[in-house]
């Protein structure tokens, strides 16, 4: 990012290449609307580009990036810009409608039936994550899918580390109950 600050456009391209997929996935899981997620991800990069001259390495770049992304996603959800794609937990059976198949990474190997089962399970999991309160959802996504440290997530969500651990515990506990049919311990 310091190279980007110095005016190196190639470094901005590298940042874009490295972070666009995680960012689009994070935002899509937050707002559950692929088009809105891409629009928000572009907005995040645009803000990074605008602020490149003022960038001060006080925190990790990922913390800054996901802080912007989280705030944009929360604002978009509160403004109701992403409501059209929200799906009730009672109607989890439309994975194709939730996210275009063209955006899915192709699975090679499993049969069509296995792919359908996997797709249905993924839809149920996405719906369960999306049903979490916004802050818990962001915490789970940043912790589980982006593997950020506690201090980074706490800074992004503007809370203490102990509050974050409680938040994560409550979120995973809710998911454990909601996804109980998928979370079956092996028979002893």
């Amino acid at each position: 990012m310091l190279d980007v600050k110095a005016g190196d456009d190639a470094s901005f391209e590298l940042l874009l290449h490295k972070y666009r997929t995680p960012l689009v996935n994070f935002l899509n899981r937050m707002v559950r609307n692929p088009a809105a997620a891409e629009d928000l991800a572009q907005e995040v990069f645009l803000r990074v580009y605008r602020a490149r001259k003022q960038y001060a390495p006080n925190a990790k770049f990922t913390t800054w990036l996901f802080h912007i992304a989280t705030n944009l996603a929360l604002n978009a959800l509160r403004d109701g810009r992403c409501r059209q794609m929200e799906v009730s937990l009672d109607q989890p059976g439309h994975p194709g409608a939730e996210e275009p198949a063209a955006m899915e990474l192709p699975d090679r190997g499993p049969s069509v039936e296995q792919q359908m089962i996997a797709r249905d399970r993924a839809a149920v999991i996405r719906a369960a994550i999306h049903a979490l309160p916004e802050k818990q959802r962001a915490a789970v996504l940043l912790h589980k899918y982006h593997e950020l440290d506690y201090d980074e997530i706490a800074r992004i969500l503007e809370c203490s580390e102990s509050a974050l651990k409680s938040l994560l515990f409550r979120a995973y506990e809710t998911l454990r109950v909601r996804l109980a049919p998928l979370v079956t311990p092996p028979m002893a």
Binding site: L46, Y49, I125, K165
Partner: protein
């Protein structure tokens, strides 16, 4: 350790981010508490289940869309941009210059020469000055009240 304290320790324990003392404390509780042991195992399984959601690639037009938005950004003002006059400022300065030229080109207003002889009105005022200065005394001087009222100036002139 009780089950409530496990709530704040379990995530860090499963992440492997506890120190040795904390790990021993958690494991000691897990050995004694079946409910927490079951929950811990289910959390582990849950984390595995959550990984079933595949990552998605952005659409092919993502980068192009972003570049278009960056290109559409208004240019940032340079350090010296503030020196360039804005149209409004230029018009205001021009009007001010024109006004000052107009004012300076007008003939000077007639200034009274202090050495010039006084006019008739000035002379009368100077003549009545002692009376004006003693106005309070004259206003209360009873003898003056006996004087007949002075006819109006207009009538006199007629």
């Amino acid at each position: 350790m009780n089950c409530e304290r496990m709530d704040t320790r379990l995530i860090a324990y499963l992440d492997g981010r506890v120190n040795d003392a904390e790990r021993r404390e958690v494991e000691s509780h897990l050995a004694a508490c079946r409910a927490c042991r079951t929950r811990t195992e289910e959390f582990r399984l849950l984390w595995g289940v959550l990984e079933e959601v595949p990552m998605q690639e952005p659409s092919p037009g993502f980068d192009a869309g972003l570049r278009a938005r960056i290109a559409a950004e208004p240019p940032r003002p340079s350090l010296w941009a503030w020196l360039a006059p804005s149209p409004r400022l230029a018009v205001a300065v021009s009007l001010l210059l024109l006004l000052s030229v107009y004012i300076s080109s007008r003939p000077p207003a007639r200034v009274q020469d202090p050495a010039a002889p006084p006019t008739d009105a000035e002379f009368r005022m100077i003549k009545d000055l002692p009376v004006l200065e003693n106005y309070d005394v004259l206003a209360n001087f009873e003898a003056l009240s006996e004087l007949p009222p002075q006819p109006a100036k207009d009538n006199k002139e007629m």
